[in-house]
């Protein structure tokens, strides 16, 4: 994968907006994703993160602004089209089918086949072997690729989904809150794979509400609040503290701190 910095951004959103009926879910959001870089999208609940993902993943179409892939303006009609154009999305809760074996999940939607005519069939041996090898490459040593994927831990399932996207030659990896439901250790494991995917030359969009996780791996940070973009920073322009403050609402946080201090002070006096 070429990694010239001057190259066009893999994905570029410019002033994108989206309405659901009379509800404005997203307004004037811009971001770019480059090969070998991680773009973090930060925001609290209801900030519009999910809507943004759905536009990039082809589940929803934007109502305003432009979406460009490799410099050419476009509109994604379906998740299938997004996938065909190299955008793979890993959703927090709907990444896998829990009751299906790991190997079936790994190839779901892109099953390799052999044979011809009515005897065209899935190449099961190849699917089993590849699943095992690809997961091993990510450091997950599965005992049995036939076990239902629901028996894996949350972090492992995320990793399977990431490994799957990498295997199928995704150029852009969109991750929806990959660490949201995970403990500290498992979050670390997942972030390691996110970094591994970046090192393989993928452009990564990491959606999160955890600025600490974002700052560990991110190259640029887009902050969303109530559907609008309130910040778009390169890594060198911002510190973790500033990011946390902005993310938590800046002045609102200061107000909250004062308020809490005052109540605490009153409590002290009474004691």
């Amino acid at each position: 994968m070429t990694q010239t910095p001057a190259a066009e951004a893999l994905v570029e959103l410019s002033g994108v907006s989206k309405n659901y009926g009379n509800v404005r879910a997203l307004e004037g959001v811009s971001l770019e994703v480059r090969a070998g870089e991680i773009t973090c999208v930060l925001g609290d609940n209801g900030a519009g993160k999910s809507t943004l993902i759905k536009i990039i993943a082809g589940l929803h179409q934007h109502d305003g602004g432009t979406l460009s892939l490799d410099g050419a303006e476009t509109r994604l009609a379906s998740p299938r089209e997004a996938l065909d154009r190299g955008i793979a999305t890993v959703y927090q809760d709907l990444a896998v089918v829990p009751l299906m074996p790991v190997w079936r999940n790994f190839f779901l939607g892109s099953e390799p086949r052999k044979g011809a005519g009515p005897f065209k069939r899935m190449d099961v041996d190849h699917m089993r072997r590849t699943t095992h090898a690809e997961l091993l490459r990510m450091g997950i040593d599965l005992r049995d690729v036939d076990q239902p994927i629901g028996t894996l831990s949350g972090g492992e399932r995320q990793c399977v989904a990431i490994a799957r996207a990498v295997h199928f030659g995704a150029k852009v990896l969109v991750l929806d809150e990959p660490t949201a439901a995970l403990g500290v250790k498992q979050s670390g494991v997942v972030l390691k794979y996110v970094a591994a995917a970046r090192d393989q030359g993928l452009g990564v969009v990491l959606i999160t509400h955890n600025p600490h996780h974002a700052y560990l791996v991110g190259d640029r940070f887009v902050l969303l609040k109530r559907g609008t973009m309130v910040g778009n920073h390169e890594r060198e322009d911002i510190t973790l503290d500033e990011l946390t403050t902005q993310m938590a609402g800046g002045t609102e946080l200061d107000d909250l701190r004062h308020e809490l201090q005052r109540t605490q002070g009153r409590g002290d006096r009474r004691a």
Partner: protein
């Protein structure tokens, strides 16, 4: 992809006990149940082990099994079809009435019936995916409409509740051979529907376990949204599943017609539940995403053994429904336990 890694994994797989592997099979509950029912009737019904009894049991199982297979596939795909029972009758009626009214070769009627029945299946699937209403409601609607149409059209055209005989029409003997003949093996007559049934089980198992479509069926039933997100054509898969049920209804319907030469227009009501019961006893999860075609066949076999076994034991057939209900409850409990195991850490 070095071979040593794969070998390493294989070594550890050997440590998984065969019992655990067996417990993971969807058919397990039904096979245990089938053996229990078999032993039960061998003990209580003296004539149960005779070859002719076996033939009768298999015939009863096959008429249910032909429909239980596609219904199981549909259930694995996460949907129901309450119209499946009367659709069999509709298919037979269309075939019979078209041939009679057009005074055509019965094979023409059989062909028209195939098209009409597939269209009904496609309608079910299309309505489901378009309206996003639960399949229970959509197919309950189709069930009632077909019940009405079956009676209404038959009375309108033939004046009574049954169709006119087509026995003397061109093509009838050959059609009867295909759909309703008896094959004699070692002096015992076996109905050809048993072959249809086994062929359907084989094809359905092949589709489910070895083809891309099978992967999609599991996925749309197990987690529709995840399936759609990775590019599985959910709409096409579901419509295809409903057309599969229609195909089964066509085969069963032609058998219904050609085993006699007339069709009673009120038949088939209630059978849809028996197909579903066979699929559920066979290990299909009612919530979708899990099950097998072989399981549905074992479910149908249990149905056949129970319904005929009670007759061989010379008991009042009224007891039959009690047995069926008990089997259903036991099977569902077992399935729930299996699912819990499969999703243990979720």
């Amino acid at each position: 992809m070095s071979t040593t890694q794969v070998k390493e994994a294989d070594e550890r797989i050997l440590r998984t006990s065969p019992l655990r592997k067996l417990l993971g099979r969807p058919e397990l509950g039904s096979v245990v149940g089938a053996i229990a029912v078999f032993v039960f009737f061998v003990f209580f019904a003296d004539s149960f082990l005779r070859a002719s009894s076996l033939s009768t049991v298999l015939y009863a199982a096959s008429t249910i099994g032909i429909m239980a297979v596609p219904v199981a596939l549909l259930m694995i795909g996460g949907e129901f079809d309450l119209s499946a029972g009367v659709m069999v009758t509709s298919s037979a009626l269309v075939s019979s009435m078209f041939s009679y009214q057009a005074t055509a070769n019965v094979w023409v009627g059989v062909g028209v019936s195939l098209l009409v029945t597939l269209a009904i299946g496609a309608f079910n699937g299309f309505m489901l995916t378009r309206t996003k209403l639960p399949s229970f409601i959509i197919t309950l609607g189709t069930f009632l409409m077909l019940t009405g149409l079956n009676l209404g059209f038959t009375k309108l055209i033939d004046g009574t509740v049954s169709t006119k005989s087509i026995a003397d029409m061109e093509g009838f003997p050959s059609a009867r051979d295909v759909f309703a003949s008896t094959v004699t093996v070692a002096g015992v007559g076996f109905k050809v529907t048993i072959l249809w049934w086994l062929a359907l089980v084989a094809v359905a198992s092949w589709i489910l376990l070895r083809t891309r479509a099978g992967n999609w069926i599991f996925a749309v039933g197990g987690n529709k949204d995840a399936a759609r997100a990775v590019g599985v054509p959910v709409t096409r898969t579901k419509i295809g599943l409903y057309m599969g049920v229609a195909l089964g209804a066509w085969i069963a319907g032609q058998h219904l017609l050609f085993s006699y030469d007339v069709v009673q227009s009120g038949e088939g009501v209630g059978n849809e539940l028996i197909y579903i019961i066979a699929a559920v006893i066979g290990g299909c999860l009612i919530t979708g995403g899990y099950g097998s075609a072989v399981g549905s066949a074992v479910g149908a076999l249990i149905f056949g053994m129970t319904s005929k076994g009670i007759v061989f034991a010379e008991w009042n057939p009224d007891w039959f429904k009690f047995f069926l209900g008990a089997m259903l409850l036991l099977a569902t409990l077992l399935n729930a336990w299996v699912r819990k195991r499969a999703e243990a850490t979720k």
